[in-house]
Symmetry: C2
Subunit: 449 residues, 2 copies
C-alpha cells in the first residue's frame, strides 16, 4: 500500500490515532466542564464529575453522575453536545477509513466508499471520506432535529427556541447513540408519543448501522443478493435482534405495571419496540430501568453487549462480530467446512478475529464486574448492568451511577474509554497486521467439550 | 474405518449411545428411588424428588432437593452410590472410546490408549479400554476410600463400619466428581482437617483430569516436551486455574468471618486451595456458599462453567475448550497465522469446535437463567449460580434448590442432562462428521468490532 503523507502514515496504525484523538478530546472536555461557567450554580464542578461527564460524552455513552439539565449551565450543555458530536463523528470517520484501508488490503468488499481502482490511499481519498461522513451525519441530524422541534413546539406547547434547542440536542444525542437527554427521566415522558420516540429510535438505528452500510444500501437496497458480507450481516442481525427484543419486552414486561404494563394499551407495541432499540446502544430509556423484571435486565445486558453496527456510532462487540459468530456456529453444527455468508466464503482469519473480539470483551466485562463488586455494596445484577452499559457505551442505568464510590466511577470511566476504542482497534490492528508464516509445525487435533 | 459389530456400529454415533445410556440409567434410578424402601421414613418419595435425585446422581452433579443422609434409607443411599458409579464410569468409558475413535480418524495424538497400528477399531480394543478405565477408577477409589476410612476411624472416632461406609461413599462421590455427601453441610466440618479435605480434593482432581491424560502421563510425565496437545492443554490450564482460584479465594474471602476468615489461620491456605478445587466440578463445599462475597460467587460461576478435563468425570465446557480458546486469542493478538500448542499446530476446524462448544454452552446457560428468572422470585445472582452449577454438573448451591418451584426444578433436571451429554456429544459429533466440500465460493472478509 502506498501512503503519501504523515497523516496517511499515522493511519497505518488507526488504533493509536483513535486512542490519542479521543483522549485529547476527553482532556479538553474535562477542562471546559470544570470551569465555573459550565455549572448551573456557577460553582466549579468536581474533577471526577467533569472527567466522568466528558468521557461519557466523547465516548457517546450517556452514563451520568449528575442530572444533565439541572446541573450544567447552558455553556456546559453546549460543551457536552460538541463533545458528543466530535466523538461520534470522529469514531465514524476513523472507522470508515479503517474499513476503506481494509477493503484495499484484505479483500473486503464494500461497495466503494471511495471509488478508485488503485490500492493506494491518497490524501484526496481521505478528504472525500471525511466530507461524505460529515455530510451524511449533519443531514440526518438536521432532519431529525426538524421533526423533533415541530413536535415539541406543536404537540408539547414548548416555545420555539426551547423546542429547537431540545430538538437539536436530542437529535445529535440520538444519531450519535450518545443517550444524553435533557430530562431526569430520559424519554419516559414520551413513551406514549410515537412521533418523538419513533423519530429518536430511527435516528439511533441510522447512526448505529454505520456509514459504510448506508453508503452501500443507498445503491443496492433493491438487490440484496449483491450485498457485501458486512452489509448482509449487519442488516440481518439487526433485524433479528430488534424483533427478538420487541417480543421479549412484550412477553416479560406486559404484566409489569411499573414499566410496559403501565403504558396505554394502544402504545405498548411501539413502546416495546423503542425499548428494544435503545439498549443497542443509544442509552435513552422510555421505561423505568430500575423497575424492569430481573430477566429483562439480564436480557438487556446481552443486547447491550452485542451492540450495534461496525463503523457507526454504536458500541458493544458489534452485530458484525455477533452475527459472524452465529454463522460460524451454524456452519459448524451442520458439519460444513466453510462459513458462507450469502454467496461469499468468510476466511478463517476473519472468524478468529470475531472470536477474539468477543472473548476479550467478555474478559474485560468480567474483570470490571469483579472489581466493581469488591468496591461497592451494590447487588450483582445492577453492577453487571452498569459495567456492560459502560463497556458497550450504552448509558442505561438502574440509577446507581451517581452514588457509586469514586474508585468505582473511575472504573466506569476506564470501561467507557476501553469499550469505545477497544473492539475496533483490536479488530483493525489484527486485520492490518499479519505475520508471515516462517515455518509450519505438524498438525495435531485435541478433543474439546 | 472398519467397524465389525453392532456395538461398534453404534459407536459411530457416540452422542446417541451416551444420551440413551444415561437416560435409561435415570429412568431406572428414578423408579428405584421412588420405592418406599428407598426413603428413611418408608414413605414413597415424590416423583420429582426421585427424578431430580436420580438425574443428579447419574449426571454426577450433586444438586439435591432433600438431604441425602437423612431423607434416604440405606437402600436409597446405595442406589445413589451405584448411579454415581455407573454415570461416572459410563461417561469416562464412552468419552475415552470417543478419544480413541477420534485419534484413529483425525490425527489426534494421544499416546495409544489402545496400542494397535491399524485404523480399525475392534471389539477387543473396546474391551481393553473398558477394562483399563474400570481398573483405573476402582484402584483410585480403593486408595482414597482406605485413606478416608482410616482418618474417620482414627481421627474422628467413628466405628469402623460407619467409617468404612462413609469412606467408600465419599471416595466414589469424589472420584466421580459427583459431590454427594453424607452431611447436610457437605465438607464444612472437615475444613480444618487437611487429611480428609486434601484426600478428597486429590480424588476430585484425578477423576477430573480424565483417563486419556492419566494414561499418557503415566508414561511421559518426565518428558513434557512429548506431551500431546490434549495432555498439554489439560495439565497447564488446570494448574493455572487452581493457582488463580486459590489466590482469588484468599484475596476475596480472607476477611469474611463467615467463610475463610472463620477458619483457623494455619489451615486457611489449604482451605482456599480445596475451595478452588471444588467448583471444577466436584461440588463438595468446605465453606458456606451462601456466605461468600458476591464477587466470589461470580468468580465461582466462571470456574464452574470452565469445568474440568475432557474424557473424565468433570463437567463444564472443559479446560481443553477454554485452554484452546486462550491459545487462539494469544495467537490472534500476536498476529500469528497459526495456533501452536507446544510443537504442534492446531487445525482451524478444531478451533472452531472449541468456539462452538463454548458459545452454545453460553447460550444454554443464558436461556435457562432467563427461564428460571421468570419462574422464581429469587435474586439473579443465586439463579445464575444455580443454572451454571447444574449445567456444569457441579452441584454447588447457595441453598435455594429445595425451595424452587417444580417447573424450575425440572429446568435444572434438563440442564444437568444437557450439561452432561452436551459438550461431549456436540464436539464428538462435529469431529466425526465432516462434509466433503463440493464447491468453493469466492472469499470475502468483513470487519468486526
Ligand atoms: K450510548
Ligand atoms: K459434581
Amino acid at each position: 500500500m502506498r501512503v503519501e503523507r504523515p497523516l496517511l502514515n499515522a493511519l497505518r496504525n488507526p488504533s493509536r490515532v483513535i486512542a490519542v484523538a479521543l483522549a485529547l478530546a476527553i482532556v479538553v472536555g474535562t477542562a471546559l466542564l470544570a470551569l465555573p461557567v459550565a455549572s448551573a450554580d456557577g460553582q466549579r464542578a468536581g474533577w471526577v464529575t467533569a472527567l466522568f461527564t466528558a468521557t461519557s460524552a466523547v465516548c457517546v455513552t450517556g452514563l451520568v453522575v449528575v442530572d444533565t439539565a439541572t446541573y450544567w449551565s447552558w455553556f456546559g450543555e453546549l460543551v457536552i453536545l460538541l463533545l458528543i458530536q466530535a466523538g461520534g463523528l470522529g469514531i465514524m470517520t476513523l472507522a470508515t477509513l479503517v474499513v476503506m484501508l481494509l477493503s484495499r488490503r484484505v479483500g473486503l468488499r464494500v461497495r466503494s466508499v471511495v471509488q478508485t481502482e488503485t490500492k493506494a490511499v491518497t490524501a484526496a481519498d481521505i478528504r472525500r471520506v471525511v466530507r461524505r461522513v460529515v455530510l451524511f451525519s449533519l443531514s440526518v441530524e438536521a432532519v431529525v432535529a426538524a421533526l423533533l422541534t415541530l413536535r415539541f413546539a406543536l404537540g408539547h406547547g414548548q416555545a420555539l427556541p426551547q423546542a429547537l434547542y431540545s430538538g437539536v440536542f436530542h437529535s445529535v444525542s440520538a444519531f450519535n447513540n450518545a443517550g444524553f437527554g435533557l430530562h431526569p427521566d430520559s424519554l419516559v415522558r414520551y413513551v406514549e408519543d410515537p412521533w418523538v420516540s419513533l423519530t429518536i429510535a430511527g435516528a439511533v438505528i441510522v447512526g448505529g448501522l454505520g456509514f459504510p452500510v448506508w453508503f452501500e444500501l443507498a445503491r443496492t437496497w433493491r438487490r440484496p443478493r449483491q450485498w457485501s458480507v458486512l452489509t448482509r450481516i449487519t442488516v440481518y442481525t439487526t433485524a433479528v435482534l430488534l424483533v427478538t427484543g420487541t417480543v421479549f419486552m412484550v412477553v416479560a414486561e406486559n404484566s409489569n405495571p411499573d414499566t410496559l404494563g403501565g403504558v396505554d394499551r394502544e402504545h405498548r407495541l411501539v413502546a416495546a419496540f423503542v425499548a428494544a432499540v435503545m439498549p443497542r446502544t443509544a442509552g435513552f430509556n422510555n421505561l423505568d430501568i430500575a423497575a424492569l423484571r430481573p430477566e429483562t435486565l439480564f436480557m438487556t445486558d446481552i443486547f447491550m453487549f452485542i451492540g450495534g453496527g461496525s463503523a457507526g456510532t454504536a458500541g458493544g462487540v458489534k452485530v458484525t462480530t455477533f452475527g459472524l459468530l452465529a454463522y460460524v456456529i451454524w456452519a459448524e453444527t451442520r458439519g460444513e467446512r466453510d462459513v458462507h455468508v450469502g454467496t461469499r466464503r468468510v476466511p478463517t482469519a476473519n472468524q478468529r478475529q470475531a472470536l477474539t473480539v468477543a472473548l476479550l470483551s467478555v474478559g474485560i466485562v468480567v474483570l470490571a464486574t469483579l472489581t466493581m463488586s469488591a468496591l461497592t455494596t451494590q447487588g450483582f445484577d445492577v453492577i453487571l448492568f452498569e459495567t456492560v452499559s459502560a463497556f458497550a457505551t450504552v448509558g442505561l442505568s438502574t440509577g446507581i451511577t451517581a452514588s457509586l464510590p469514586v474508585p468505582a466511577q473511575l472504573v466506569l470511566v476506564a470501561l467507557m474509554f476501553i469499550g469505545r476504542i477497544g473492539p475496533l482497534t483490536v479488530a483493525s490492528a489484527m486485520a492490518l497486521r499479519e505475520r508471515p508464516r516462517l515455518y509450519q509445525l505438524p498438525e495435531e487435533r485435541t478433543i474439546v467439550g
